[in-house]
């Protein structure tokens, strides 16, 4: 059984790789390569998997999940320039893919008991999302 919680943050980023030329960056990332940055209202769906506790009827206390997300993700990401203010994006390009993987890495160690982190799905716009499930 899977249950998910949605949280949101707003942040700016610049998608440019130091290993690519200016022309390659413009081609790969399009307008997202603007060196002055731009931002999104990100929406994050975090899903945990497990069987409900027979007493509480819950896989994981969603208040606790909310606290973990607030503490480990939102307080770090919200209203920040990701490239400058959030590890590891000084060296890793803050694409939607890398943001989903980083959020997974921040949250996974704190999910315990009956629950296992199942999926981190991040929406950059309503049209574009990335889902990471901890697969290598």
């Amino acid at each position: 059984m899977v249950i998910s919680k949605r949280v949101e943050f707003s942040a700016s980023h610049i998608c440019r790789s130091a290993q690519l030329t200016d022309a390659e960056n413009e081609r790969v990332y399009g307008p997202a390569a603007n060196p002055l940055g731009h931002g999104h209202n990100y929406v994050v769906d975090v899903a945990v998997e497990g069987e409900p506790d027979p007493v509480t009827g819950m896989i994981l206390d969603l208040k606790r999940l909310r606290e973990i997300l607030e503490d480990k993700v939102l307080s770090v990401y919200d209203h920040r320039l990701l490239n400058r203010e959030v590890e590891p994006f000084e060296t890793v390009v803050p694409t939607l893919e890398n943001i989903a993987i980083d959020i997974w890495n921040r949250v996974a160690p704190h999910i315990g008991g009956r629950a296992r982190l199942y999926s981190v799905k991040v929406f950059e716009t309503s049209e574009l999302s990335v889902d990471y499930r901890g697969e290598p």
């Binding site: 399009g30 890793v92 390009v93 939607l96 889902d131």
Partner: protein
């Protein structure tokens, strides 16, 4: 790292649900209002989900410009503001239900996929087509069969 990326596209088109294998009465019973001889239309939404590993240099699982391009060429341009029954060859012989429309989008994408990503690309994991908010069909690469989510009635 393996991730899934989903991108949603839209087009508007008209269709009529009518099977030559059924009588007029059976067609009316099966398709209801969608059997109207003059046709009707929808704002369709198609969500494509691709799965692959993240390129360590670009941080991307797919070149979005190439994904947009294959979507535009394979189904957006051919279906946008068209009468599907009259103007898309596949629907001269099959009924353009949400299921068949999804299967046609899936078929066109799979045929064009190797040419669209010449340097290798992600795999197409799912095509999800939304005719209305209450009528959504998913074609998943694993199951290779369509799952219709119709809360009220089939193909409107």
């Amino acid at each position: 790292m393996t991730v899934r990326l989903s991108k949603r596209y839209g087009f508007a088109a008209s269709h009529r649900l009518h099977s030559p294998a059924l009588t007029d009465e059976e067609n009316r019973e099966t398709y209801g209002k969608c059997n109207n001889p003059y046709g009707h239309g929808h704002n369709y939404e198609v969500e494509l989900t691709v799965r692959g590993t993240v390129d360590p240099v670009t941080g991307r699982v797919v070149d979005l410009a190439l994904l947009d391009d294959v979507a535009e060429k394979q189904f957006l341009a051919p279906f946008r503001h068209r009468n599907l029954n009259e103007e898309v060859p596949a629907f001269r012989t099959t009924v353009p239900t949400t299921e068949n429309l999804g299967l046609e989008v899936d078929r066109r994408l799979r045929e064009a996929w190797p040419g669209a990503f010449p340097k290798g690309g992600p795999c197409l994991e799912m095509v999800r087509i939304r005719e209305t908010d209450r009528n959504i069909c998913e074609i998943s690469a694993k199951a290779e069969k369509a799952v219709l989510r119709a809360e009220e009635k089939p193909g409107t």
